[in-house]
């Protein structure tokens, strides 16, 4: 599903060059649930942006579902994002001016489905996350967990092959976080490939495989595993958000 080879990502400012990713290699198979962890500043977000085609790479090769994405034009990248990738963001990123129905509708519009298809998919997706009854509500009228469920519905509605989740529970309390994780596991079971970025080792264990990024490179998994688990016992759930 995802093949990254020797990817380099360099941010240049006037004064410094920052190597966010260096010689980065990663392969994710279809149907896998991979979690990505790493300390802050390690390059997690850069990996996520590159994997999600939100940023271009400086060097290297990236195949998404067999398509070489290097050098594609904005229009083609947009189409790939729209068709193949479903995004779940830490801060939900629902559009405040649109109600739930319209929010889920956004990627479908760009896909070019007709009205009937869109309506069916939106209703199905909202049904799946248990919010079909609140279709006409605005995001501000929902709790954080509900908002994230809408975001998941929006990601699913286009039936992407590949779901990219960025700290999906970062802004949620533990109960809601658990619900969201269960939902993701279900989705994975139905065959959708999931890559989830998190800094929470407990969540990292939800996936079939965990990858550590340190200093812009994939780290040897086994080296760090024990240490991580030990740490985990002292760590509280990383939860800053209040309930809505």
């Amino acid at each position: 599903m995802l093949q990254m080879q020797k990817i380099n990502k360099i941010y240049r400012t006037e004064l410094v060059e920052t190597h966010a990713l260096r010689e980065f290699n990663l392969t994710v198979k279809e149907g896998e649930f991979v979690t990505v962890t790493g300390p802050s500043g390690s390059g997690k977000t850069t990996f996520l942006n590159i994997a999600g085609l939100l940023e271009e790479i400086s060097q290297g090769k990236y195949l998404l579902d067999g398509v070489d994405v290097v050098g594609l034009k904005d229009k083609e990248l947009s189409r790939l994002r729209n068709e193949k990738i479903g995004f779940i963001f830490q801060s939900f990123n629902l559009i405040p001016d649109l109600n739930l129905f319209e929010n889920v509708d956004v990627p479908l519009r760009y896909r070019g489905f007709n009205a009937k298809q869109r309506k069916r998919r939106i209703e199905e997706a909202l049904e799946k996350v248990g919010l079909a009854a609140r279709m006409k509500h605005l995001p501000a009228q929902l709790s954080g967990g509900q908002q994230q469920r809408v975001a998941i519905a929006r990601a699913l509605a286009g039936e992407p092959k590949f779901l990219l989740a960025d700290e999906p529970t970062g802004n949620l309390d533990s109960l809601m976080a658990r619900q969201v994780m269960e939902l993701l596991k279900d989705i994975n079971k139905q065959g959708t490939t999931i890559v989830m970025v998190t800094h929470d080792p407990a969540l990292a264990r939800c996936g079939q495989r965990n990858i550590q990024i340190v200093d812009g490179q994939v780290c040897d998994f086994s080296l760090y595993q024990n240490k991580e688990q030990n740490q985990n016992q002292f760590q509280q759930h990383p939860n800053e958000a209040t309930t809505a």
Binding site: K75, D97, Y110
Partner: protein
């Protein structure tokens, strides 16, 4: 319509912003349509043709204060001399000059008795046989005056013949454009018209000759009487070859004073100058209205740009999200353009109503004509286009927002 529904719904949730822009666009349309219409009216007025060969003629005035001068003799000398100046085609002493402002008008009727007669108010030119050629007006029927027909200014004899303008004939004999096409114009030839009860025979018809006042009804209704004025204050019209006009104008004061010194020769002026002076108010009105339109459009585009910039800033995150969800740059630009288009269109349609209301008000309060709908249509298209141009840059800026913004935490 692509995305029309959600955009509209999203706008409804920020009603006051959209509404303010709608009001602004509607008012702009109403003001611009009416102002543009007034401007065009004034331009039309200013561009009316005088009938004279304007690029070849100039005028100057003579005021004689010497007591030892027989003006009727002097006029003849002056005219003769002027015609001998190299470059001069012809010259004539006249009582008034077209579009110069100062005027001599009189009423004429088609019957000697007042009851039941058609009365026509006309500009009255008085001059000799050289009048037509000096003006450069085109004689389309009949003939010019003969020397015997021309009376001196101090003569107590009444004039008996006249050359009139086509518009004079049309008004006096109430001819329609169809009548003119059927050649009925020449029926006016040889007819008598009456100044009070004095009969005057029409011997010639000129195609076009404007009066000296420009703000009168029937500006082309004029008559030329064969009489040379001999007042102390008199006007001369001189026709030259166009390329030699300036040279002749430059030396006119000197040569005229050489002929007889005890008089004042005013600065010679061209028809362009007379036109500019006579239409100064109309010119100023149209210039001021143009400035008003420019300022208004500037303000409204600033408003559109300002709102768009704010919208882009306010929606930075949502634009990034849209991009992440698969919107191309073109989709983002289109979003803002459609949004602006909706606002413009609503504004424009309200604006049509306002334009008509404003015009109605102007018609009632002032002597303004009814608005030509063409101006609404033209302004509509203009405002539409302006909206598109104004929103394009902010929209372009929005499309450059990186989709990666969506992964940034708040």
């Amino acid at each position: 319509m692509f995305e029309f529904g959600p955009i509209f719904n999203a706008m409804l949730r920020h009603k006051s912003h959209a509404l303010l822009l709608v009001v602004q666009i509607a008012l702009t349309l109403a003001i611009v349509a009416n102002a543009a219409f007034i401007i065009q009216n004034r331009l039309d007025l200013m561009n009316r043709i005088s009938g004279l060969s304007e690029s070849e003629v100039f005028k100057f005035d003579v005021f004689t204060f010497g007591e030892d001068n027989d003006i009727s003799v002097q006029v003849e000398l002056d005219e003769k001399f002027l015609r001998t100046i190299p470059g001069v085609i012809d010259a004539a002493r006249l009582n008034q000059i077209p579009i110069s402002g100062s005027s001599d008008n009189s009423s004429f009727s088609d019957k000697p008795n007042i009851d039941g007669s058609v009365r026509v108010s006309s500009g009255v030119y008085r001059g000799g046989t050289h009048t037509l050629n000096t003006m450069g007006v085109k004689l389309i029927e009949g003939r010019n005056f003969t020397e015997d027909e021309v009376l001196s200014g101090d003569s107590t004899q009444p004039v008996t013949v006249a050359i009139v303008s086509k518009a004079f004939v049309e008004d006096m004999f109430q001819l329609s454009p169809e009548d003119i096409q059927q050649g009925k114009l020449q029926q006016g030839l040889g007819e008598n018209i009456y100044s009070f009860d004095v009969p005057i025979k029409i011997i010639g018809i000129v195609e076009k000759l404007q009066r000296s006042q420009v703000n009168v009804r029937g500006i082309e209704v004029s008559i030329i009487l064969p009489k040379i004025s001999t007042n102390k204050f008199g006007r001369y019209l001189v026709r030259t070859h166009a390329d030699q006009r300036q040279k002749v104008m430059d030396e006119i004061e000197k040569v005229m004073l050489k002929l007889y010194p005890h008089r004042v020769i005013t600065k010679p002026v061209t028809m362009d100058t007379l036109r500019a002076d006579s239409y100064a108010n109309d010119r100023m009105m149209s210039q001021l209205l143009t400035i008003l339109i420019v300022i208004l459009l500037l303000i409204t585009s600033l408003g559109i740009v300002g709102m768009a910039v704010f919208n882009v800033n306010r929606r930075t995150r949502q634009i990034g999200t849209r991009r992440a969800l698969g919107a191309s740059k073109a989709n983002i630009v289109r979003y803002f353009i459609i949004e602006n288009w909706i606002v413009s269109t609503v504004g424009i349609f309200i604006g049509i109503g306002l334009s008509l209301l404003l015009n109605n008000f102007l018609m009632q309060q002032f002597s303004l004509p009814k608005l030509d709908y063409l101006y609404i249509v033209m302004t509509m298209s203009g405002v539409w286009l302006l909206g598109l141009i104004a929103v394009y840059l902010p929209a372009k800026k929005a499309s450059h927002i990186s989709p990666a913004i969506a992964t940034r935490s708040v």
